[in-house]
């Protein structure tokens, strides 16, 4: 009985809140003020022609920098829960699976590369590309045990932080060249955005893969890594 009334109170409160928000949405101006015109007026100077990329990496690049830090923090958070023993791959690659992977993985890496490149003028960019790369990493983790044990220690840590470091480097670098923080030199904007996005894509891919492990890979497994050096997926 008591439980029922508690649920009822929650539902009543929620309906009231939803009603308030619905009222707010319905009362919004028909064609309200927005930054759309400003974005399109300045997009010529942003170095890219996809407006979303222009906002993400130029006009509001500072948000994106912090957002990559947040992604990086998720790894630190997962690692602060202690070591995990890497289990064997749940689906070890048989003949058929490994043949499939041999086609699928390069295709995914290519897709990631395409998305990264396309982001400047069409839908796509670092997050989409990084996510596809992360998906490829997760597939590898599920099927190839040696890959999992290969990614420990300092190369991994460098890859994880590369996105933030390169982004921060460009942000501060443009400040030293006489601009403000993240004020890319005019003619370099396109190139610099591509550099940042490439590093971010790599980092995001590796971060998502590492998050799939769910904890810090135990260093004890490192002995295995010697065998499988050419197998890193980011090549």
């Amino acid at each position: 009985m008591r439980l029922f009334s508690a649920k009822l109170i929650i539902i009543v409160l929620l309906v009231a809140l939803a009603g308030l928000i619905a009222w707010a949405i319905l009362s919004l101006p028909f064609n309200g003020p927005s930054l759309r015109a400003q974005v399109f007026a300045n997009i010529g100077h942003s170095g890219v022609s996809n407006p979303v990329t222009a906002v993400l990496l130029n006009f509001r690049g500072y948000d994106t920098l912090l957002e990559i830090v947040v992604l990086f923090l998720a790894v630190l958070g997962a690692w602060s829960l202690g070591m995990v023993q890497l289990p064997g791959p749940p689906y070890p690659a048989g003949l058929f699976l490994s043949a499939l992977l041999r086609i699928l993985l390069p295709a995914m890496v290519l897709t990631a590369g395409y998305l990264l490149w396309a982001g400047a003028h069409a839908p796509g960019g670092a997050f989409q590309a990084g996510a596809v790369l992360g998906g490829a990493g997760i597939l590898l983790l599920l099927t190839e045990v040696r890959f999992a044990s290969a990614i420990v220690s300092w190369p991994l840590r460098t890859l994880l932080s590369a996105g933030v470091l390169v982004f921060t480097g460009v942000a501060l670098g443009s400040m030293f060249l006489g601009g403000r923080l993240l004020e890319y030199p005019r003619h370099w904007a396109g190139i610099l955005i591509l550099v940042i996005e490439t590093a971010a894509t790599l980092s995001i891919g590796v971060i998502l893969t590492v998050l799939f492990i769910g904890g810090r890979p135990s260093e004890a497994d490192r002995t295995l890594s010697v065998k499988s050096t050419g197998k890193r997926k980011d090549k």
Binding site: P123, G124, Q128, A131, G134, F212
Partner: protein, 97 residues
């Protein structure tokens, strides 16, 4: 414009709501996660309808793909841990008897 709405957007909206409701209430967690992945894929369609192709791509890859994989792996871990616990409890019970 109007006909496409009734034919496409309204059903999509209803299915999204239904999936969200089902994934929150279904007793089986595995089913809930699968429904969540389906929900993510349909969300991607909704983004396309809203001319947000950038987000649609991200949703398909991150929302449905990576998040779904993360949920499945977490569910897997929790289930296997639970089985271990149950077995342990059964053993101690057996000893007590």
């Amino acid at each position: 414009m109007i006909w496409s709405q009734w034919l496409f957007d309204l059903p999509l909206a209803l299915v999204l709501l239904w999936l969200a409701w089902r994934l929150l209430t279904s007793a089986d967690l595995f089913k809930a996660v699968v429904l969540f992945i389906a929900f993510g894929l349909l969300m991607a369609l909704a983004w396309v309808r809203l001319q947000a192709v950038d987000i649609a791509l991200a949703e398909a890859a991150i929302g449905a793909g990576v998040t779904g994989a993360l949920f499945l792996s977490a569910l897997n871990k929790i289930n296997s841990e639970q089985q271990k616990n149950d077995k342990g409890q059964a053993e101690t019970k057996g000893r007590n008897l």
